[in-house]
């Protein structure tokens, strides 16, 4: 007897096996275990707008509004003056770029390093206590 299957029958057999692969029964219901683990976790906080969020939003809106109002009501002479000063400042930066850039970079690096000092001190203290 020829046991070989045609490619179509092979496909059919494979599809059949894929569709009929049995689902394993759960050894036991895990709902109780999950719920007991969940009880130790605080309930998820639903998304809510708090009063603080509202106050912050109002403050920001007032600040932005005040800036917009001021800019629109400045005397033209003052606007020209501001523009001139801005151009001068920009040129100053360009002229001093050669030393300004390294100083700012090192300054930033020093600042970030300084931020780690309290943590490192705490670690050192813990290490000594142990």
């Amino acid at each position: 007897m020829d046991n070989s299957l045609t490619p179509e029958k092979q496909n059919a057999a494979i599809e059949d096996a894929l569709h009929t692969h049995p689902v394993a029964p759960l050894p036991h219901n895990i709902t109780v275990d999950v719920m007991s683990r969940i009880k130790t976790i605080p309930a998820p906080r639903p998304f809510l707008l708090t009063r603080n969020d509202l106050v912050l939003a109002i403050v920001f809106s007032v600040c932005i509004g005040a800036m917009w109002f001021s800019i629109n009501h400045l005397p033209p002479l003052l606007i020209a003056q501001i523009r001139k000063e801005s151009i001068l400042l920009y040129q100053q930066i360009l002229v001093n770029m050669r030393w300004l850039l390294p100083v700012l970079s090192f300054g930033l690096a020093a600042f970030l390093s300084a931020l780690t000092i309290p943590y490192l001190r705490q670690e050192l203290q813990n290490h000594r206590e142990n």
Partner: protein, 190 residues
């Protein structure tokens, strides 16, 4: 019984009874997916619990863009990635060079005349499915056991659609080779 959407809304507000009903409904499928990939009952059970605990903590972030069931599959898959560090890599390494797909024919192989033979073959193939590589087992499980579409699998696993198709194509090719080996062996020893 209350529908899933209502249960979800209640669970999102912190109702643990509603969440327990959701756990009841989905645990079997999550467990089976984990079991298929990990091939270890205890680990699969542990992972299933972990999936629901994570789902509970992340529930406020669930916006309903996908089905809840698909969202759970995503969580369990991410947990599987943690347990099997090579799984994600093996999925992305599949590429998307598939030229054609195996046609999804109706499983009409099981006719009465060949009942016994087909049952034996089916059992052999079930065994072969369980012995596929972990990445193929994951894809096969998502496609056939959990009945996700190619697109849903691609979105869920964050893979290109072509990669998903390639993976399933190669999995079936492996099964076909296993079938041929089985056929040759049974031909030699009738």
């Amino acid at each position: 019984m209350e529908n899933e959407q209502a249960l979800l809304q209640r669970a999102q507000k912190g109702d643990s009874d509603a969440f327990a009903a959701l756990v009841d409904e989905h645990q079997r499928y999550i467990y089976n997916l984990a079991l298929r990939v990990l091939k270890d009952e205890d680990e699969a059970l542990d992972l299933t619990q972990e999936t629901f605990v994570r789902a509970w903590t992340a529930l406020p972030n669930f916006r309903g863009q996908s089905q809840f069931r698909t969202w759970l599959y995503r969580i369990v898959t991410n947990l599987c990635y943690n347990r099997l560090p090579t799984l994600r890599r093996s999925l992305t390494d599949l590429g998307d060079d598939v030229i054609s797909e195996l046609p999804e024919t109706d499983p009409t192989f099981d006719n009465p005349a060949r009942g016994l033979e087909s049952r034996e073959l089916r059992s052999y193939l079930h065994n072969a499915i369980e012995n596929l590589d972990e990445n193929y087992r994951l894809l096969i499980s998502l496609r056939y056991q959990n009945e996700l579409s190619y697109e849903e699998i691609a979105v869920m696993l964050n893979l290109p659609l072509g990669t998903v198709k390639t993976g399933l194509f190669r999995a079936k090719e492996q099964l076909r080779r296993a079938l041929e080996t089985h056929q040759e062996a049974s031909w030699i020893t009738p």
